[in-house]
């Protein structure tokens, strides 16, 4: 059964066709490979599905920054900047909002990719249960889903950053780090949300509520369009617990050298990483519990 094992190296995407009908490698090899690479195998599936709507991903990735930067940079900025740039730490308004927009875009993508597709996997089209019968584990299925979405964050943020750079809104040489910051913020917001999505057994419009009552307030009150300090204390806490605020402030440090106490910069990283790790642990638990029933 296993003579053929190991003879044909994993050809990945190579399109070579064997002359004689090849045999599948042995179950032992299949299991060993799945234990090692299973998350990547599932990520491959998610990316294939994303390819099906790649056009809308590209339109979103390019259209969103161009529209926002144009509105802010050409429209609002001319008005704001004419009042004197002091309020925004001595930088132009577009430079001030660009990192915030970049981070917010990743968080909004997270709000899409970690809600409906998860429900689809468990309930609507039950797409998680196909791979669940294969050697993959529930944890690997969750990890693969996350890996594919992380890749989307990176690509989308890179495109966004390119647009920001074209608008001259990332003067610092470290500006590109905002791509990573936005990705981390996407995971910090997205993974706890994914754990929540995985716990939902009945769709009662929860995701629409998440969009309206969590994502939108965070977007508006996270120091996105104006410094958090200009808000009354009563609502400032929204910023403090918001991954968008932590991501935005961190992004500003890199994109235009925004000055804040170094300890605060460390805190941003700790909060974002902490939320992502917490979300990952909860997601793993939820996936294993729900699929193993």
């Amino acid at each position: 059964m296993s003579e053929k094992a190991g003879l044909s190296p994993d050809a990945g995407l190579a399109g070579t066709t064997d002359v004689a009908p090849a045999r599948a490698h042995s179950p032992e090899i299949a299991a060993a490979k799945a234990r090692r690479w299973g998350a990547f195998y599932y990520a491959e599936q998610v990316l294939r599905v994303m390819k099906g709507y790649s056009w809308s991903i590209i339109m979103y990735s390019v259209g969103h920054p161009v529209a926002y930067l144009f509105a802010m940079g050409v429209g609002l900025a001319t008005l704001v900047d004419s009042q004197g740039a002091g309020a925004f730490g001595g930088v132009g308004y577009v430079t001030f909002v660009a990192p915030a927009l970049l981070v917010s875009a990743a968080v909004m993508t997270a709000a899409n990719e970690f809600t409906f597709p998860v429900m689809d996997g468990f309930k609507w089209r039950r797409t998680y249960y196909g791979p669940h019968a294969s050697p993959l584990t529930p944890q690997q299925i969750a990890a693969g889903h996350i890996m594919a979405v992380t890749l989307r964050f990176l690509l989308q943020s890179a495109v966004y950053f390119a647009a920001v750079a074209l608008f001259g809104a990332a003067p610092d040489g470290w500006g590109w780090v905002t791509i990573l910051v936005a990705t981390l913020a996407g995971l910090a917001f997205g993974l706890p949300l994914m754990a929540y999505s995985a716990s939902i057994t009945e769709d009662k419009g929860q995701f629409a509520l998440v969009m309206r009552f969590i994502v939108m307030p965070l977007f508006l009150f996270s120091g996105t369009f104006f410094p958090l300090d200009s808000l009354p204390l009563a609502v400032r806490w929204i910023g403090w617990i918001s991954p968008i605020w932590h991501g935005t402030e961190l992004g500003r440090v890199f994109s235009y050298g925004y000055r804040e106490p170094p300890l605060l910069t460390v805190l941003h990283v700790v909060v974002l990483a902490g939320l992502a790790v917490l979300g990952w642990v909860l997601t793993r638990k939820q996936f294993a519990a729900r699929m193993g029933r």
Partner: protein, 333 residues
């Protein structure tokens, strides 16, 4: 009657032999379940069942909905943990060796879970990747399986566009992508029209001829009779009987059955007048069944007592009768 001879032949964990050879004694045991139990809270879905399956056998779990068939299949498939008892597939415990057990299996679930956003052929390729299979193997294999499932001309279609029977065949093709020697089929033909069922049975029969071990659940007695070498009749999580379809019919029913309909109100009252005809009488809401060795003779006796049923039918006993005898209930709701 409980044919347990197979159990003693030893399910040594390491000795993995290909199952292709003709069936020489003793056949290797590929699945053993002992006192297998699964409870969900207060509900006992599977209540201590014991069976074993040798390589190449076509083994069925026959029972009504809610009998615990699917739960048993999920435990064998290594996706649901058992509450107690022992279970080994190819000598491996699915609770501790989930990926290894699942790598041995092909699984056709009760509910199709194909990737509807991918095209037909891509469903096979993607699934093969979960087993770490390289594209150089998967591409020709996918074409071969599409041919087998009679879906070659649908290779580039969206899954949405397939009929129920086609989706089922695609699911079976998908389950074969890793060339499994054990195939789990959970109600493979439920919801299909008769023609689609027959195509599916034919495909499954071919797999059986190739020596693939089939484990299938069904609540259709004709399906069980067509496909199963041996089966267990399950009800409320327990095994009621075990044997080949012919054996079960011989042991739990008579050769023939006379079905009489007197009209729904009269069936019960007339039953008393049929006393003594055949070996056994079963009164159902819509008909009376007389179990007899010679159905025609029994029917003549009915006529000689001056009883005139609205319709009468003499037929061979089936697994439906076995189930009725064992549980006092009908199989199909």
């Amino acid at each position: 009657m409980h044919n347990k001879a197979t159990v003693s032949s030893g399910a040594a964990a390491g000795a993995v032999q290909p199952a292709e050879e003709p069936h020489t004694e003793p056949r290797r045991i590929v699945i053993t379940a002992e006192n297998l139990t699964k409870t969900y809270g207060d509900v006992t879905a599977v209540d201590g069942i014991t069976f074993s399956v040798p390589a190449g056998e076509s083994f069925g779990l026959l029972g009504p909905n809610g009998a615990g068939k699917s739960t048993t299949m999920k435990m064998i498939g290594g996706v649901t943990r058992r509450t107690s008892g022992d279970l080994h597939i190819m000598g491996l415990d699915p609770d501790s060796h989930g990926p290894e057990v699942r790598a041995h299996l092909g699984v056709v679930p009760q509910q199709d879970n194909l990737d509807e956003e991918l095209r037909v052929r891509d469903n096979l390729l993607v699934y093969g990747r979960y087993f770490g299979l390289p594209m150089s193997y998967l591409k020709p294999k996918a074409d071969e399986l599409l041919e087998f499932a009679q879906l070659t001309d649908k290779a580039k279609s969206k899954v949405d566009a397939l009929s129920g029977g086609m989706k089922r065949r695609l699911t079976i093709a998908r389950s074969l992508i890793n060339e499994p020697r054990i195939l789990l089929l959970d109600e493979p033909t439920t919801g299909l029209d008769p023609q689609a069922r027959h195509i599916l049975w034919d495909r499954l029969f071919r797999l059986k001829e190739q020596g693939v071990t089939l484990i299938l659940t069904t609540h259709y007695m004709d399906e069980a009779e067509q496909l199963c070498d041996r089966l267990i009749v399950v009800d409320k999580g327990r095994i009621m009987a075990e044997g080949s379809p012919a054996q079960l019919i011989r042991e739990h029913s008579t050769r023939e059955v006379v079905e009489l309909r007197f009209g729904s109100e009269r069936n019960t009252t007339i039953a008393a007048e049929l006393d003594g005809i055949g070996e056994r009488l079963e009164v159902l809401p819509d008909r009376v069944l007389i179990y007899a060795h010679d159905g025609e003779a029994a029917l003549e006796q009915v006529a000689s007592r001056g009883l005139r049923p609205l319709t009468s039918l003499v037929r061979r006993s089936s697994l439906e009768d076995v189930f009725l005898r064992l549980t006092g209930r009908s199989l199909v709701e």
